[in-house]
Symmetry: C2
Subunit: 272 residues, 2 copies
């Protein structure tokens, strides 16, 4: 490992950002299950002198409901520590004076409660799952094609994810569909967008080189963080595949078996 790489880099760290699904827990029936050792690992990080934030592209539930689920799984996490695309989108809408047509999961709607949705001048898509019907996609398309300057926001750009009953198409697939239909490029809100990572760094008040991202998604977690100047470590849980360790364009600063091992290494290296 080169100097300044993992695990040497942890000496100069001031903050850690954790991906959630596939790092803290595996989704599935009901709340899913905590990944062994991860509840304890979060506890140990919180007791250290490192700042800690959580960063997810989850868009099937409001942050409140999502955090409540994590708490039921045993994690000591509060809403203000969690960064997800919907609140970031609400902030972008306010800043730019945009009124959205929403094609999202029913569970995400509460995040947009206070937002003016009359006479929409942009479209927001999230992981809408069953709501991605032909009719709903046509409706979103017609809003876009009717705008002089169509604006499409996509809450993440994932290809697919795994649930207990099999692989499911993710929001990125429908983003590509609408991009082609309207001949435009969507603005991605969430990982791996630099604006999204930077908002987390800004909340911690630290520089990119002082932060480490730990995730199971090589491209969106690790690669996205690295492009912002952070270090990125991949865990061999969640959607990790052995082929990630010889990926053509993204090389993690380190690869560890799970979050517990990552936290062991970080705290040992720092003598905590």
């Amino acid at each position: 490992m080169a100097a300044g790489g993992w695990p040497d880099c942890v000496q100069s760290l001031k903050g850690v950002i954790l991906d959630m699904c596939g790092v803290l827990y595996d989704s599935g029936e009901g709340d899913g299950v905590a990944i062994p050792g991860s509840v304890e690992a979060v506890k140990r990080l919180k007791a250290s002198n490192l700042q800690l934030r959580f960063c997810t592209n989850e868009t099937q539930a409001s942050r409140e409901k999502f955090v409540a689920k994590l708490q039921r799984l045993g994690f000591d996490i509060s809403v203000c520590e969690v960064f997800s695309p919907a609140p970031a989108a609400v902030s972008v809408l306010k800043h730019r004076g945009l009124r959205p047509h929403l094609l999202v999961h029913d569970g995400l709607l509460p995040e947009f409660d206070g937002v003016d949705k009359t006479n929409p001048n942009c479209v927001i898509i999230g992981d809408a799952a069953e709501n991605f019907s032909y009719q709903n996609l046509n409706d979103a398309f017609r809003v876009l094609i009717g705008l002089e300057k169509p604006v499409l926001f996509s809450l993440g750009q994932g290809r697919y994810y795994k649930e207990t009953d099999g692989l499911k198409l993710d929001v990125g697939v429908y983003m590509k569909a609408l991009e082609y239909a309207c001949d435009l490029e969507a603005e991605v809100i969430g990982k791996p967008s630099a604006a999204f990572f930077n908002s987390v760094l800004s909340d911690m008040g630290i520089q990119p080189q002082e932060a480490l991202m730990i995730g199971d998604d090589l491209v969106n977690d690790v690669g996205g963080a690295q492009r912002c100047g952070m270090k990125g470590v991949q865990v061999r849980t969640g959607k990790y595949r052995p082929s990630d360790e010889k990926h053509p364009t993204v090389t993690a600063d380190g690869t560890v078996d799970d979050l517990a091992r990552a936290v062991d290494t970080i705290l040992n290296q720092r003598g905590q």
Copy 2:
């Protein structure tokens, strides 16, 4: 107009290929309506010494049902004169020993009656309309992602089309979605694929420079034909837009108000 361009080029023509929807008729309630003068124009072409074929990306009905509709609208057309993507796909499947998983309109299924669909090793998508549900798209995706060498055929690559109740997303949009999900490139069967146009030329036994394509779709009809070495003329009916006449990459050899005017010019120029 340059020498060899429209309408001079019609002197050396041996065959004409007509697009159907937007050139012969406009779709809508029931059978739709014939475009004024087009029934007579087809009759005049048939009485000339030019060969005539019809070429459509229609994939919501079998050729038999589609041709029956055109006959009800008054057109003298028979099934063997019509080239559409589904029969071309069946021929590709046989040639390459492939068994399809179908994501198509119910009306298109009879075209694939004799085709082995057990244990599929490729996916075919057509303009499935309401059949483009989240569940059905997931099913097609899972077949592809489970194959060692995933093969996706798309019956056309249109972005959208107009029906009486508004714009509707076309098959190309879902092609892009599955391409992104599986990180592959689909093989397009139908216009503007060169293989598709060449099969029509081959059926007429003529060379590309002896053929003229007349269509309302600048990119898929006119541009596709031109890339094969044919001449391409656009009609100002169907999905024609004035902006087509200053398109950045495709310039029609000629633009005429409708099929009747095109046929007037062709036959006058040839002294027929």
